[in-house]
């Protein structure tokens, strides 16, 4: 329709890169305002305690200190609300901005210092004395619940989801397998720590928050409710999000309130030690999973009772993570009967929320361990057992009697078997099986494994975008999206360029500025390309219509006889005849157009991970020799960006499978508090992986056919690695806990 060569589907260089490469990025710590104050949070040293008194006198008297607050100073500031409507039962568990009377986790904000410089602020924070009475900490989600507050227990809610006749299924099963599986607590840990800058304009009675990310419009709404005045959020450059950055935390509220009350801009930059104890953690779940199969290994029923470690408070996500865990647990398989129960439990640890593939990294581990166990029990090949249970492409769209994120789970499109066959061929599965068997005969502990998954992307219901062209022909897209480093601007520009017929490099993309567009969905849940991308597509088409209408008059033609190619409006019949630049067509006033996109259901891309690993028998260390991620993305706007998401996601999944864990001692003291303890994989630990992206199942839910890709690389890593480790050590079912640390693996290899 426009352009001689389609730009959607091309791995063009990113628009974002030059500024970042030159070190001209504006991350939160790079932004400063004249006369700004620096905020330092005073944090709890105990996991569970009653606050007897807080002595801030010495801190207030310290050099350069302007104010020191405790919860008494912000009594009118409410607890932090949920981002989406949540069950009423969760209300009492919201986090107060500063601890009030009770401390519930180490590093909980208890007081806050405002000073002329961050060094002085930290000095003063050290002088705040918190007198406490220790209380016994609740540390394990699978222990019986304790007391959160008077009359309120630490199990706010139990979620249930079920369909089908489980009783009958388990009653008539040929085989039943039960597994007790644990996923260790870990999280996104982006390389940039959190940061927030609050600025108050008294003339407009407006608070501006810089350092926003992920969901600026939703957060604006929440902050406006909490602070009862107009708030604008501004997203600069963001050093990674992974779900963790961008939710409303106490510090975001504090800089806003402080800017308002102290009459000066207030800047807060988190340090790494704080981050590893204060930013959202994730993944900690223990599953008691049960599967019933017939003699051919076809699943009759799946049951899962699990304990979700939520940490000390319920933050902005409510109970979303266990809800997602349940809704996506069936993955790509036919599950005639299903029952899941999530014990949502609080512990005296850092509060938890979403982290890349939330609920799915966990669920894939559980589901694929079950499939491997069935294979072993019935003596059926691990591939074959899965093949027998995969939903087939003829059954699409496939509705599961489940819902998640407020929508029913309807798998929109997919040919899982086709992808499986492609993956097997690409990985050389059969050859690898033979080769590793030979090596095992020579006493090497080497093996292969896999995991199949379905992702959920493109969460609606609606998004909109605004596209304009000015008299110079420059195009600007205004979205309510967000960029966390994933290439959002480039993808939007490519989609717009294709619809409009211009060079993508002439397009600038606005995101994360709540004062530029009324509403937005930000970027999370792998929804930006699907939702904002399609809104941009519609807006661009609308703009194209306006341009062609104007051009038709100037060129004495009809709009449908014209086309736009490389920014020039030409006649379709006579391409080399008279042409008009879009600048000329736009005229002095330019044009703008809106576009909206609505969808009722999510889009479900799917994939397969295959791993070949080797265990060092002398140390228990695991080396990944080969790894494949095969993924059907529906349609790739920029294949290299999709690959980048998959490879980066894999590195994080690998971290969760082998290296990363937030550990606590028996007093609830965090042990993983520096980068020497919390082990993010380096280049040496992350092998180069093979990525196979296919476009065999475009989504029928949007005109571009796209599905998201942000979480594909992470989803099944624990599943595939566990499967491969079992194979390597010759002990099917051995791995029941991740991360598989060398010490744990040595124990599994014994006896």
């Amino acid at each position: 329709m426009s352009g001689t060569q389609s730009i959607i589907g091309r791995s063009v260089p990113r628009l974002e890169d030059e500024v970042l490469l030159k070190g001209e990025g504006r991350f939160a710590a790079d932004i400063s305002f004249p006369n700004q104050l620096h905020m330092r949070v005073v944090r709890a040293s105990n996991a569970h305690a009653r606050i007897v008194s807080i002595d801030t006198a010495a801190a207030r008297a310290a050099t350069g200190v302007v104010a020191v607050w405790t919860s008494n100073d912000i009594q009118d500031v409410p607890s932090i609300d949920f981002r989406d409507p949540a069950a009423e039962a969760l209300g009492p568990y919201r986090q107060p901005v500063l601890a009030h009377k009770i401390i519930r986790y180490v590093d909980e904000p208890v007081a806050v210092v405002f000073a002329e410089d961050p060094y002085l602020a930290e000095d003063a924070a050290d002088l705040v004395e918190i007198d406490i009475e220790e209380l016994p900490p609740q540390l394990h989600a699978s222990d019986a619940p304790g007391e959160f507050a008077s009359g309120i227990g630490t199990e706010p809610i139990v979620l249930n989801s079920a369909y089908g006749d489980g009783e009958a299924a388990f009653g008539s099963a040929h085989a039943i397998i039960e597994l007790d599986l644990t996923i260790g607590r870990h999280s996104g840990v982006p390389l940039e720590t959190r940061g927030a800058l609050g600025v108050y304009d008294p003339q407009k009675d407006l608070i501006e928050l810089f350092g926003a990310a992920k969901v600026p419009h939703r957060n604006r709404d929440t902050l406006m409710r909490m602070l009862k005045r107009e708030v604008h959020l501004h997203e600069g450059h963001v050093g990674g999000g992974f779900g963790v950055r961008g939710e409303i935390y106490p510090e975001d509220v504090l800089v806003c309130v402080a800017a308002l009350r102290l009459g000066r801009p207030v800047k807060w930059i988190e340090d790494r030690y704080e981050h590893l104890m204060a930013a959202n953690q994730s993944r900690g779940q223990r599953h008691l999973a049960k599967i019933a199969v017939d003699a051919e290994g076809r699943v009759l029923a799946l049951r899962d009772e699990f304990f979700h470690d939520q940490g000390a408070y319920v933050r902005t996500h409510g109970a979303r993570v266990p809800e997602l865990t349940m809704g996506m647990l069936p993955g790509p398989y036919r599950i005639p009967s299903f029952q899941a129960q999530a014990h949502f439990r609080l512990t005296n640890k850092t509060p938890c929320a979403t982290y890349r593939a939330p609920g799915r990294f966990e669920g894939s581990f559980v589901r694929e361990r079950l499939m491997d166990a069935v294979a072993e029990k019935l003596g059926i090949d691990r591939i074959e057992i899965r093949r027998r249970n995969l939903v087939s492409k003829d059954e699409m769209p496939y509705a599961r009697p489940l819902s998640t994120l407020g929508t029913e789970v309807v798998l929109d499109s997919g040919d899982y078997e086709l992808l499986l066959d492609k993956a097997l061929a690409r990985f050389g599965w059969d050859e690898a099986a033979k080769a590793t068997e030979k090596r095992r005969a020579n006493d090497e502990k080497v093996g292969i494994g896999l995991g199949i998954f379905v992702e959920k992307t493109g969460l609606g219901p609606t998004d909109s975008a605004h596209v304009s062209v000015d008299s110079s022909g420059a195009i600007e897209i205004v979205t309510g999206g967000a960029s966390l480093g994933q290439g959002f601007e480039t993808v939007m520009a490519q989609i717009c360029a294709e619809a409009l017929g211009v060079d993508y490099e002439n397009i600038s993309v606005i995101h994360g500025q709540t004062d530029r567009i009324a509403s937005g969905i930000g970027a999370h849940a792998s929804r930006a390309t699907v939702m904002t991308g399609n809104a941009v597509h519609v807006a661009a088409l609308n703009l194209r219509t306006k341009l062609l209408e104007a051009a038709a008059v100037l060129m004495q033609s009809k709009p449908d006889a014209l086309d736009i190619v490389d920014g020039q409006i030409i006649s379709k019949e006579n391409g080399s005849g008279p042409s008009l630049s879009i600048a000329a067509a736009a005229g002095d006033d330019g044009f703008s157009a809106e576009g909206a996109f609505h969808v009722d259901h999510m889009a479900y891309p799917y994939g397969i991970h295959m791993a070949q690993i080797r265990v060092d028998q002398g140390t228990g260390a695991v080396k990944v020799e080969r790894y494949l991620v095969a993924y059907d993305v529906g349609r790739a706007v920029n294949p290299k960006l999709v690959e980048g998401q998959i490879v980066g996601g894999f590195a994080q999944g690998l971290g969760g499978a082998l290296f990363e864990e937030f550990l606590y001692d028996e007093q609830g003291q965090p042990l993983s508090v520096t980068f020497a303890d919390y082990l993010i994989p380096t280049l040496s630990e992350v092998p180069e992986i093979d990525v196979l992206v296919t476009e065999d199942a475009p989504s029928p839910l949007n005109p571009l056919g796209i599905k998201g890709a942000g979480e594909a690389g992470t989803n099944a890593v624990a599943a595939a690695i566990a499967s491969a480790i079992d194979d390597a050590i010759g002990k099917p079912g051995a791995v029941t806990q991740i991360p598989v640390t060398p010490q744990r693996l040595m124990v599994l290899m014994q006896d």
Partner: protein, 156 residues
């Protein structure tokens, strides 16, 4: 405590600053000299985002005090491009999609530049070992390796 008046030579220009000895070089470069391209990811010397080049060697600026860098030749990411013309290594990063959020990128650039200026024929193995010094949370490293190799091979 008292401040020290020092001159930091960064990318060939002198910056006269007055700093307390406890201020790290990273903070002095960023706040006192206004060059915010050097990032701090951990402030305890593990992530390498703060890597700069000092007298030809890559060093973690969060592990040096600002006062210790007086009289040395410091290079930061801002000194790589020539106006609008990117340094060939920066071009290679762009071609290979070697960055996503860009936060670790200046550290990797300075690390690689220092190493390749010292040994333009660095082997793949040595390069992998070197690049394992810094953390990246977004890319999974593969494209960073490609970019640095591309730059190395173009120089041969």
């Amino acid at each position: 405590m008292d401040s020290f008046d020092i001159i930091l030579n960064i990318n060939g220009s002198d910056h006269a600053v007055s700093v307390e000895p406890r201020r790290t070089l990273a903070d002095v470069i960023r706040e006192d000299c206004g060059l915010t391209g050097t990032h701090t990811g951990c402030e305890h010397g593990v992530c390498g985002a703060c890597t700069v080049i000092i007298d030809g060697e890559p060093m973690r600026s969060c592990l040096m005090l600002g006062v210790q860098a007086a009289g040395k030749s410091i290079r930061t990411v801002e000194g790589l491009a020539d106006g609008d013309a990117l340094h060939p290594l920066q071009e290679a990063f762009k071609d290979e999609h070697a960055l996503q959020c860009g936060f670790c990128t200046p550290g990797f650039l300075m690390l690689a530049i220092a190493a390749l200026e010292r040994d333009p024929n660095i082997s793949d193995e040595a390069l992998n070992e070197l690049l394992s010094s810094n953390l990246c949370r977004c890319t999974g490293y593969a494209n960073i390796i490609s970019a640095v190799r591309k730059f190395r091979d173009a120089g041969k």
